[in-house]
């Protein structure tokens, strides 16, 4: 055996794996090593999700920007012009686009992730690998879109004559917060979906509600304290407001919102992944 990277092989001692009903925390710890062992597969699954996403579509990657741009137009027309919602002095199209870019990533990834295990049922019931790669691959594929739409966002902002604040350096951190939230919620929903297909009908509806609970179309200043601060338990509040601050550079940094949202996203990620891991062992039997 010439697999160089496999340490257990390299020392010539066959690894022994004990297969038994999972119990307790130790079983969980062991599975972290497992993720590393299967890293090649994680990359392959993510690469598959990225490649397949726009194959045989006429517009291809353009979809990554058409969606937020389309929403921007509709929002600008209805909320900006007709309803006259304030955008704190920022041109409304920019105001909404800066929020729509991370939101589209979040909503799209959440929808796909929650259905991902069921779509990959054949794989799950025939092959062993850490199941978390399936919803995680969807999120990674979404990141590629997010990169493209963020680039467009910058082009629009610069074209408009605004200068982003140094806060742009924090964008990766904000994206990480969004990823943590979407992975936690998406993985948990995917796990529930294996058993109860109801999830498939609930999620699109819930995502729409979530959009209105997030200051995408309206400024967060519409909310009075303490509601403004409390609303940041919705992790997307911190992400969306953070994006606006970083990219548009007009307002003061919403550190409180970002802080609360980060904590909340971390909590969601841990809870979601723990639930996923507990449910994982039954997937092959019921999917």
């Amino acid at each position: 055996m010439s697999a160089r990277g496999d340490s257990a092989q390299a020392v010539g001692r066959p690894e022994a794996v004990r297969l038994q009903p999972t119990r307790g925390l130790f079983g969980r710890m062991a599975s972290a090593r497992e993720l590393w062992r299967y890293r090649d597969l994680a990359l392959q699954i993510a690469a598959r999700d990225v490649t397949v996403k726009y194959r045989q579509t006429a517009l291809g990657v353009a979809w990554a920007i058409l969606q937020p741009l389309g929403f921007m137009l509709v929002f600008s027309l209805f909320f900006g012009n007709l309803a006259g919602i304030s955008s704190n002095g920022i041109p409304y199209p920019l105001f909404s686009l800066a929020a729509l870019v991370p939101w589209t990533f979040f909503a799209g990834s959440l929808l796909l992730a929650s259905d991902s295990l069921v779509t990959n049922a054949a794989l799950v019931s025939k092959i062993y690998f850490p199941r978390i790669f399936i919803p995680a691959g969807v999120v990674v594929a979404g990141l590629v879109d997010l990169g493209i739409s963020t680039a467009i966002l910058f082009a629009v902002v610069l074209g408009w004559g605004l200068t982003p604040s140094p806060g742009v350096l924090l964008l990766p951190a904000l994206v990480a917060v969004a990823c943590a939230a979407v992975l936690g919620v998406g993985a948990a929903l995917a796990a529930v979906n294996v058993r109860y297909r109801d999830v498939r009908y609930v999620v699109p509806f819930a995502v729409q509600l979530w959009l209105f609970a997030t200051p995408v179309a309206y400024p967060i200043t519409l909310l009075d304290e303490p509601w403004r601060t409390l609303s940041a338990v919705n992790p997307m509040v911190g992400v969306v407001e953070g994006f606006r601050w970083a990219v548009l550079g007009e307002t003061a940094a919403p550190w409180d919102l970002i802080g609360i949202s980060t904590a909340s996203a971390a909590l969601l990620a841990v809870a979601g992944l723990v639930y996923f891991h507990r449910a994982e062992r039954d997937f092959a039997d019921i999917v």
Binding site: M1, A3, Q9, P14, Q20, L43, T51, A122, K126
Partner: protein
């Protein structure tokens, strides 16, 4: 370091049978059930636990397989063979007991799982290789070999959805066959592709076995098992009922089949019945019209009669004649109709199939039956009956007797010099 590759200790697996709808139920049902249970707890009136139908696919199975052994798992459908492989390959967890696996495991439970139709052949080789546990570098190293084995060089950059089914199966098997695990678990994957490719795959499996890897093999084709394996484990109802040199285990299995066939067919539980108001196979008889049941003569007329419990609309029947090594020889299928077929309202609950001249060489054969009605499978039984063929005459020529190859006798004529 021990020489044990696979070890199981009182390994058991229980499946909860679904509510008849693929096992998953709706959120509403389980919410209602939970509410009812908690309500029962409040009022201190214990509600009886919901009756759940369970099935033990494995019952306290304890086996040990050494490094380099090539083991065949044999047994009926539902005996636990596939469940055992699923546990060993970590797809599913045991309910109790444990198994220990020493060494890198590669499992081939279904050829082509994980192929993505939109991806090209090249992309799928990498994806599938990773799914089967190969490192990227390893796949790159063996890439040319894999492609050559599958014989699809020209279509490497075509999406797999445009492949013929034969091509994708060849590619899938090629990827799997170039795995280099220490322990290989194989479930019935050789029954794919055309005859030439099957021979090639079988050769490859033989190679793997000779290289000193540990192989656990499941197949219904006893000839394949016999050719590849040295040891056979016969599973029945989730238990190992025989663990012996492969010939002995196969023999034990066949004797069991015969015992089951001679028992009341309605009493058998290893059937593919759908359960609800199905018509069941009650009995099966092979006879020379006018002669004794179960003894027929090659080249003479034969009637195969299937007795069923009930006549349902649109009954169809498929009989598969299988030789003593478990290789299917011929399929007789009423769904493929001919003008001479009749539907007879007077026939009663039975189906008859007549052969004008039985073209089988002397030997022992069995018949598998699949019964359909209302466009659904009603019942299915493997080895519903055994029969012995006595040497006969075909087209005025005596059949070759002992020592001849093959199973069938053909009417033919020679032209010789002289």
């Amino acid at each position: 370091m021990s020489d044990v590759a696979i070890e199981t200790n009182r390994l058991a697996k229980r499946y909860t049978l679904g509510t008849g709808r693929r096992g998953y139920d709706t959120l509403r049902e389980s919410l209602v059930a939970t509410a009812r249970r908690s309500l029962g707890r409040l009022t201190r009136r214990p509600t009886p636990p919901l009756p759940e139908e369970t099935l033990w696919a494995l019952r306290e199975l304890t086996i040990e397989i050494g490094h380099g052994e090539v083991v065949g798992l044999i047994g009926h459908n539902g005996a636990g063979k596939s469940t055992l492989l699923k546990i060993l390959s970590r797809i599913t967890e045991p309910t109790s007991g444990w198994a220990e696996v020493h060494g890198r495991v590669g499992s081939l439970l279904e050829v082509g799982t994980g192929f993505h139709p939109e991806l090209t052949g090249r992309e799928n080789v990498f994806l599938n290789g990773a799914i089967l546990g190969m490192r990227r570098a390893e796949i790159r190293r063996r890439f040319d070999e894999i492609v050559a084995f599958a014989d699809i060089e020209r279509f490497l950059d075509t999406p797999v959805k445009r492949y013929s089914s034969g091509m994708s199966v060849r590619l899938a098997f090629a990827v799997a066959a170039h795995l280099e695990p220490e322990i290989l678990l194989v479930d019935e994957v050789l029954a794919v592709g055309d005859a030439a490719f099957q021979r090639k795959s079988l050769g490859k499996m033989g190679e793997v076995a000779r290289e000193g890897r540990t192989v656990v093999f499941v197949s219904h084709n006893l000839a394949v098992i016999q050719a590849l394996c040295t040891r056979g484990i016969l599973l029945e109802g989730g238990r190992a009922v025989a663990d012996a040199p492969v010939e002995e285990a196969i023999d034990c299995y066949l004797r069991g089949l015969e015992r089951a066939a001679s028992a009341d067919l309605l009493a058998r539980t290893d059937r593919d019945s759908r359960g609800w108001e199905a018509s069941l196979i009650r009995g099966l008889e092979v006879r020379n019209p006018g002669g004794a049941a179960d003894v027929v003569v090659g080249g003479r007329p034969v009637r195969i009669a299937v007795a069923v419990t009930e006549v349902v609309p649109m009954m169809e029947c498929r009989l598969t004649i299988v030789n003593s090594l478990g290789q299917p020889i011929a399929t007789l299928d009423s769904e493929v109709s001919a003008p001479a077929d009749v539907r007879d309202g007077e026939l009663g609950p039975r189906i008859e199939c007549d052969l004008e001249a039985l073209p089988l060489l002397p030997g022992r054969y069995r018949i598998d039956v699949l019964l359909k009605g209302r466009r659904q499978i009603q019942d299915g039984l493997q080895a519903a009956a055994f029969f012995d063929v006595e040497p006969g005459v075909i087209d005025e020529r005596p059949m070759p007797t002992a020592g001849s190859d093959g199973d069938i006798a053909l009417a033919h004529r020679w032209r010789l010099p002289g």
